[in-house]
């Protein structure tokens, strides 16, 4: 089985994240880049499926040169090879252009199964997997907390508000995973060393027949009009419990008409 995992480099949530004042896009230099956390679960799931069914795991990342760190981490976990889509023309792409660029690349490199995280920690749109399914005409098996493959049949458990749905489809398919699906492995020392020798193919947009008219800030379908730091919340009242903390809290709730 040919599995492609989409992995995004995101700014570390533990550092201060910013938008750039010049073109209102994410300031990728202001913070350390890390692997989007849910994508580690996606890589882990791909590795487990490969271990069970054979095949190959390819990491696909769209991002600036710096995103190679993220690719190495996924390779160190055990992925076999990587494709790095990197081009200045991609800067400032919105969800529509990102899904277009990734879909074109996926068509070029081929796949039986594409696995994504269900959401990134920076933009958090949560739309990419659905958009890829739409663009590729492949079944959408998203928000999975369980994935089972049997020949060309694939079944997932899709997390819902009331519990979950069991969903069936045939490969090729697009899957997105939620946090509790597995426990991502830590790269071993051997894995880290091996990752340095694994092939990483760099593609510019022309290499994947991606049209420059459909990507980048100028072609985006949406724009940031303005942005500002959120005003700090007004300082609240903090009391120490002297045996009446619950009563005091109830009084506060009553003053706000919650009780």
């Amino acid at each position: 089985m040919n599995i492609v995992v989409c992995v995004k480099q995101v700014p570390d949530t533990a550092t201060e994240r910013k938008l750039r004042s010049d073109d209102k896009t994410l300031d990728r230099d202001a913070a350390d880049g890390v692997v989007n956390e849910l994508d580690e679960y996606a890589v882990e799931e791909a590795l487990r499926l490969k271990e069970a069914h054979g095949g190959e795991v390819t990491v696909l990342t769209m991002g600036p040169a710096k995103a190679t760190e993220t690719i190495r981490k996924a390779l160190a976990m055990g992925a076999d090879k990587a494709v790095h889509l990197s081009d200045d023309a991609l800067h400032g792409s919105d969800a529509l252009s990102t899904s277009y660029a990734l879909a074109e690349t996926l068509k070029k490199i081929g796949f039986d199964l594409v696995i994504l995280g269900s959401e990134s920690t920076d933009a958090r749109t949560g739309v990419l997997a659905a958009m890829l399914a739409e663009r590729l005409g492949a079944p959408q098996l998203t928000l999975a907390n369980k994935v089972e493959v049997d020949g060309s049949a694939i079944t997932i458990q899709r997390v819902t508000d009331y519990g979950y749905d069991r969903v069936e489809a045939s490969l090729p398919a697009v899957v997105s995973v939620v946090e509790k699906i597995n426990e991502p492995r830590y790269p071993s020392f051997k894995g880290i060393m091996a990752a340095k020798k694994k092939p990483v193919e760099s593609l510019a947009i022309g290499d994947a027949e991606i049209s420059a008219e459909q990507v980048g800030l100028a072609s985006a379908w949406s724009e940031v009009v303005e942005f500002a730091a959120a005003p700090p919340r007004a300082a609240g009242t903090v009391v120490k419990d002297e045996g009446d903390g619950g009563v005091k809290a109830a009084e506060f709730l009553a003053s706000k008409k919650f009780v």
Binding site: M131, T160, W221, S222, V238, D241
Partner: protein
């Protein structure tokens, strides 16, 4: 006035609160048309949608729409967009709502804004990003604006609309039928409101100490008619199911009142609750960062404070 499509969220035939919010919001932008997708449509649902201002109600009640994941709803909306050229489409920014919006955007070659906490004239959306640290105003520049709006962004206000019903027949494409739902498993969550929709959320973290101890969090929640949430420390430990996790890799909630007990307030937790209107904190460590965003905080042992608070609320009822 220009038509605004609002995709109805419903469960067991009942219209969810977020839809009433979206209809209220849509009235400030144009004339709302509700779009009902799937079985369960009744006169009561119709009355409810009209009560909150739906001028039209498109009803596509075929069972098939809910038998396949997301794609049929996007196809339905795309058909309505092409037939009636609305000024915008509003959906709830739930996980599924955002997926529908994403597919619709591609079908209609339109931009999409997710997680809006408000929408104003010109369909300029307010987004609260980076865990609430930055406020952004953004808008769609191509096609029909598609905006996924967070629950609890607008207070629902009734104002009757005509509620003219229009049946919609839709022939689904093969690709919309590609992912088939073969079983729906409902997990018990009692009578509590849904986490993302709830007006009040009571959450417990590592300080709660065990799954059994979550009973005191549930009691407090029930005294307020609230939903129960949990930090990742609590869901990781298996004390509470993952679907109740609030935060960056869990649910984003924006209730009127959020009560955090035994939660330290890590940035990843705050990312899921920082836009709550009022925040109350109970934590024994006065240095816990969650106090920085509290409107009211009690420094104390939650095992003392929470039961006392519950008792006091019951007394005042």
């Amino acid at each position: 006035m220009s038509e605004i499509l609002v995709l109805v969220e419903h469960a067991d035939g009942d219209v969810k609160k977020v839809t009433l919010e979206l209809l209220t919001l849509a009235r400030s932008l144009g004339e709302p048309s509700a779009v009902w997708a799937g079985p369960g449509y009744t006169d009561a649902a119709k009355a409810r949608l009209a009560e909150y201002g739906a001028a039209k109600i498109y009803v596509a009640s075929s069972e098939e729409i809910v038998d396949h994941v997301v794609a049929p709803k996007a196809e339905l909306l795309a058909k309505l967009v092409s037939d009636s050229s609305p000024a915008a489409v509003l959906v709830a920014a739930t996980a599924e709502g955002k997926e529908i919006a994403g597919r619709l955007a591609i079908k209609t070659d339109s931009g999409v804004i997710t997680d809006a906490v408000g929408v104003s004239e010109g369909f300029v959306a307010d987004q609260s990003i980076f865990g609430g640290g930055v406020n952004v105003r953004s808008r769609v520049t191509k096609g029909t604006p598609i905006v996924a709006v967070r629950p609890n962004s607008t207070a629902p206000v009734a104002e009757p609309g005509a509620g003219a019903e229009e049946k919609v027949e839709i022939a689904l494409s093969d690709s919309a039928r590609a992912a088939k739902v073969v079983e729906r498993v409902k997990q018990e969550r009692g009578a509590r409101p849904e986490l993302t929709e709830a007006a009040i959320v009571v959450s417990g973290g590592r300080g709660v100490g065990s799954g059994e101890n979550f009973a005191i969090i549930e009691k407090l929640a029930d005294s307020l008619g609230a939903a129960v949430g949990a930090s990742r420390a609590a869901t990781d430990a298996g004390w509470y199911p993952h679907q109740f996790q609030v935060g960056q890799t869990g649910k984003t909630v924006s209730p009127q009142l959020y009560i955090a007990t035994g939660i330290s307030g890590a940035i990843q937790h705050r990312a899921g609750m920082q836009t709550s209107k009022t925040i109350v904190v109970i934590n024994k460590d006065p240095e816990a960062p969650i106090f920085e965003i509290a409107d009211f905080g009690v420094v104390g042992d939650l095992f003392q404070v929470v039961p006392q608070l519950t008792e006091e609320i019951e007394k005042r009822k």
